[in-house]
Amino acid sequence: MPALAVKSLYKVFGSRTDEAMRRLADGAPRDEALAGLPATAAVIDANFEVRPGEIFVVMGLSGSGKSTLIRMLNGLLRPTQGSVRVDGVELTTLRPAALRKLRREKISMVFQHFALMPHRTVLENAGYALEVAGLPKAERRERAMDALRMVGLADWADKLPHNLSGGMRQRVGLARALAAGTDILLMDEAFSALDPLIRREVQDQLLELQAELGKTIVFITHDLNEAMRLGDRIAVMRDGRIVQIGTAEEILTDPANDYVAQFVADVDRTRILTASSVMEKAQTTLDVNVGPRVAARALRENQTSVVYVTGPRKQFLGTVTEDEVLRALREGRQSLDGYVSTERVRTVTEDTAVADLFADCAESQHPVAVLDAKGRLAGVIPRITLLSALASTTPHEVPALDGPAEVDLVGAKGDPA
């Protein structure tokens, strides 16, 4: 069961919402559909599911409806139509008391401008959810301290929020949500108000904590790089509608429409794309027990000069070149065993970022071997493939190629200078 399930969710502000809903149902763009009506549609027909333990990022520019969307997930705003299920419980029809209970037990939230209470100490802020839940003071203190320790602010427990920097205040906001002990965390532009360097730091901290705690996180942001960095999956919103949902790679390599394509145009793909998305099939892959005669024929047929050799469990062993196959043939060997070398080819894993492939590609005599989690050969990356993967991202920056073998691969990404 998904942790959160949203079905045909709408939020229309203003009056004459019935008429607005009727017009929106046809799928016309928001501004056209509502022209002349005293109503604004913030969220139109949102559908998605968030799996337990994933970071689901909702990304969009301001006015795209993402903040309204997240506020319907914990009932701070009532949807105009549609369904929100939290752990299977329909939230939209809950009575106020039941809704409050659900918030206490299942969902907590982190806010853009931290929303700490200025008249309470850091510790009292961190323990707020527990105070609401009616826990005894000693236990409250202990659990709030635990949460502050997690975000590295235990020493600041007795200070007031104004003594803290922005980054620290948001860590208190995070501690407050963590102390609540809920499985679901809503984060509304949580890091947007922070300086870039601090933002990076708290993003790292969130990822660290997430690796440990495995919360279900819905993260709202307008920053694509943040979305790509944090999100297991990303929903792109525009004018109230979700236009695409997918992993960072899916959105980069297969944008649903021009808007998304334009949005992702500026992203540094080499950090998002991984080896598995640019690799191709190895031309000649043979088992180590195959004889040199077969190998020679395979090389001839494929017009290549190197054999990728795998072992009995398909694990990658190394390469054998044309010359060595010929030598084995002359020496009358029955298998390639003894000729396999790991010297001439570099190996990387499937999730290696493209940015980290350049050095390997430059130093590897033959196309780099990409291995899966079990050490099996998933594919190879010839230099030219790496370059063309880059070319599709930054068409103006890749210099013309004469002979691929001579190109300085590390420099190829940017200006030739």
Binding site: R71, A97, R103, Q112, H113, L116, M117, P118, L160, H162
Partner: protein, 297 residues
Amino acid sequence: MSQHESPLDGWLPRVPLGTWTESAVDWATGTLGPAFDAIAAVVDALVRPLDDLLTGVPAVVVVLVLAGLGWWLRGWKFGLGTAVGLGLVAGMPYWEETMSTLAQVLVASALALVLAIPLGVFIAENRRASAVARPVLDLMQTMPAFVYLIPAIFFFGIGTVPGVLATLVFSMPPGVRLTELGLRQVDKEIVQAAESFGAPPWMVLLRTKLPLALPTIMTGVNQVIMLALSMVVIAGMVGAGGLGDVIMFALSQVEVGSGFEGGIAVVVLAVVLDRLTDSVGERFPSARAQRLARQAA
């Protein structure tokens, strides 16, 4: 009521608003008599003991207590100033009247706040109620102060009680308004944060909204006391006693000297009450925290 010819005679029907008001007041005096008697008894029971206390103890004690309070709340300079100002008043012939006025102001503003703050909370939470309350508050504030005295005499006769009640009505509006304003100005995100953790409305109100609105509400308290002080002098016209009497008498006899003395006593009271209530507001932890937060930002 009015015997004047209306310039619109023959063009528009005469609107006998005055006559209607009179009959409404007549009806109220007849039907609600017992209720008014009860209200009068309560107000009297509050003012009289306080008046007796303030006029009963030696002036030196009152001066020292207020000066000490000023020292504690705002520092030694203000404490000294309070002592000098009140000492001056004590040296003039109207100390007892000043203390009566103080008692009336304190009771009227306390009652006004008891009504105004809950009302302000209510209309801050309820837009429709706010829309209804706003013009009523405008009316209460712009109606010439003297006009309140007329029904007050009808319902409560002559004396301290109608004076205090007219003062109450006149001074209440800023208490309501600033309570509403303060609550509405509380950072929406902070309120949402409280709600998002499942806090029930009363908890959000008492532990989040009110503490954060407190500085503004205290400004309202300060305004209420200042307005009460200005009205309580006017209430001298209905025989409320205190400095109002002094000033009314000086006015009718054209006695510049005693008029000025009464006026100075009012000014001293006003300054002391204003600064004291102001610093009480600043001393709340939430106010201090917010002020520091603003400085840091």
